[in-house]
């Protein structure tokens, strides 16, 4: 029963990872990261139910707070990038190349 939740969590996590590594749209990449966070949350809640403690719930809350902070910053960055280049393609930004 719990294992089903965990398998679902794994599937969602891997789909998020797939989105991060294959898509070039900044928004999609960002939302894929959110998906991965959600998958992790699901695992937390499922384990919490399994062990009948509420620490998992607290962790899920903290993850949500971090996700909110991340969303605020990431979207600000996206706006800046869009202002600079008028593009949403991650391949446009290759400043890491030496």
């Amino acid at each position: 029963m719990i294992q089903d939740y965990l398998v679902l969590s794994i599937v969602l996590f891997c789909l998020g990872m797939l989105g991060v590594i294959t898509r070039r749209n900044v928004f999609t990449v960002f939302m894929s990261v959110e998906l991965m966070l959600n998958a992790a949350n699901l695992a937390f809640i499922a384990f919490s139910r399994l062990h009948q403690t509420m620490d998992g719930h607290v962790l899920a809350m903290l993850v949500m707070a971090v996700a909110a902070a991340e969303a605020a910053l990431a979207l600000a960055v996206v706006i800046l990038l869009h202002k600079h280049k008028s593009r949403l393609d991650t391949n446009v930004f290759s400043l890491l190349k030496g």
């Binding site: 590594i21 990449v29 391949n91 290759s94 400043l95 890491l96 190349k97 030496g98």
Partner: protein
Amino acid sequence: MEHSVTYLGYIPLMPLLGALVLGLLHLFTCRGKALPELLYGALACIGPLLSFIFALVVFFHLKGLPAEERFLVHNAFTWFAVGDLHVDMGFLADPLSSLMLLFVTLIGSLIHIYSVGYMAGDENFGKFFAYLNLFLGSMLILVLASGPVVMFVGWEGVGLCSYLLISYYCKETENVIAGNKAFIVNRIGDLGFVLGMSLLFWAIGAGGFDYLSLKANVDKIAPATGIAICLLLFVGACGKSAQIPLYVWLPDAMAGPTPVSALIHAATMVTAGVYMVARFSFLYASHATAGTVVAWVGILTALLAAIFGMFQKDIKKILAYSTVSQLGYMFAGVGIAAYSAGIFHVFTHAFFKALLFLGAGSVIYALHHQQDIWKMGGLKSKLPKTYLTMMIGAFALAGCPPFSGFFSKDEILFSALATGHTGIWLVGVLVAGMTAYYTFRMIFLVFHGEPRDAEAHAHAHEPPAVMTVPLQILAFGALFAGFLNLPGIFGGSLKVSQWLAPSLVDHHPHVSVWLELLAILTSIAAFAIGITLAHRKFGQGAQEPEFTGFAKFGYHKFYVDELYNAVFVQPYKAFGGLISRFFEPYVTDCHVRLSTWLYRKAGMAFKALQVGYVRVYAIYMVIGLSLMSLFLSQTIH
């Protein structure tokens, strides 16, 4: 019988502390506003003067003891102990080192005081005195050392300081080259010293490696080994004391400031070689063959340097060759086992050579750094004090009775005659005449006759008292030091030789009074002939001659420098060039180059992975995770 006293360690410590304080002061102030010179001068003179006071204390302490107990030792700490080799940072004061101590600290102090006047206005005043103090401190370590290893510390210290001070005016390339020359030639000698020391340790070092233990064990050395040790140590002495074939650095050492020359020639450095041979007298005395070699090398050096000295025109070069020549006498003395005579000549020579150098410094100072004697003349009336004191020094150097040089030199020559070394005696008498000739050639040209450079002559004036007072003290020493060791024929009793007897393996042959009288009379005759020739030739306003034939050969020092350059320096340089051009790039550097090449190529290959897109880096990470998962999956069933 030895006595342990702590204050021995303070003697070298005083100038060394002075060097430290002065050096730090100089370092911290050289960029900003300089401290007053008086402060530096006072700080610089305190150390040597305190050492001199301690030296007096040591002397009187020794004097109060019975003759066979005159050994003061102080082991400050154990320096290192490896297997049989146990080396203490130990100091030994016996009659020999106490005599050295007395004149090294006295003359060193006087030179320090003189330098305060001579170096006034120099921009690196503090640095100069730091080096000077270090120099004196190293020499005191050398003199007081209780064993060869500690002696070597001082030995290297004076070598280093001579390098620093010879190239003190380092803005001119030739001065730096002169400093390098001194250092490199000294290194060659040092190698001999180290080898000799190692051989000595190998032979008898296990029984304790200080002089007293070595002296007790000296009989255990095989004759051949003993001769080898003596000769190797003598190579070291040759380097330090400028004997054939390593004498070439000393005349070039003139590049340093004049007080430095005085210090090198009189009190420190060059006397180290003679002192070392005397210190090992127990070794040399039992190997007469080595002693004979030492004596002949010494007397030939004396002859060669005297020939060079007759033709030089730089006042300091003349004095430098006279030093080499006198050092030759000293080695002749210690070589024929007349150790006390050799050391006594070191003692008197220190006074009159310091006097002559400081006097020459006064002349140079008065003439605004003019060193060519053919551009001087008639300074007698302008520099009366300098003239008088230098005259005393010249008489002492030339060996005129009753000045100090006469007694010490005569003692050596008489010993040579008495022990049957007639050849050495003959050459010695010849050199005595030549010494008188070139010394008075210098005196006549500088002080007598008409001024050759009227303008410089007009501006010349006596230097300040801080410079003339040391001259007068030294003149007093040069005049009367000889009476300390009056031989029996003059009613004396060889006091210095008796004083030194506990430290040295000395022997005085008993020969007839006539032989002694013969030695004295020939010496006086040689002096008289030399001074007469000099007076006839240079007494009245001689003009600079064109050097031709032998004179030119002599002026160019028999082209020995050029010969060394062609035979040793150039092939060595060519060899080095060969190494750097072929061996280094193709053999040693090749490994390094290969590895850098490999890394560069590997970097080029991996550079392709660095595409710069964040997404691609994420892909790398995921690939890594994936591979890890594949691997870890094997472990789960």
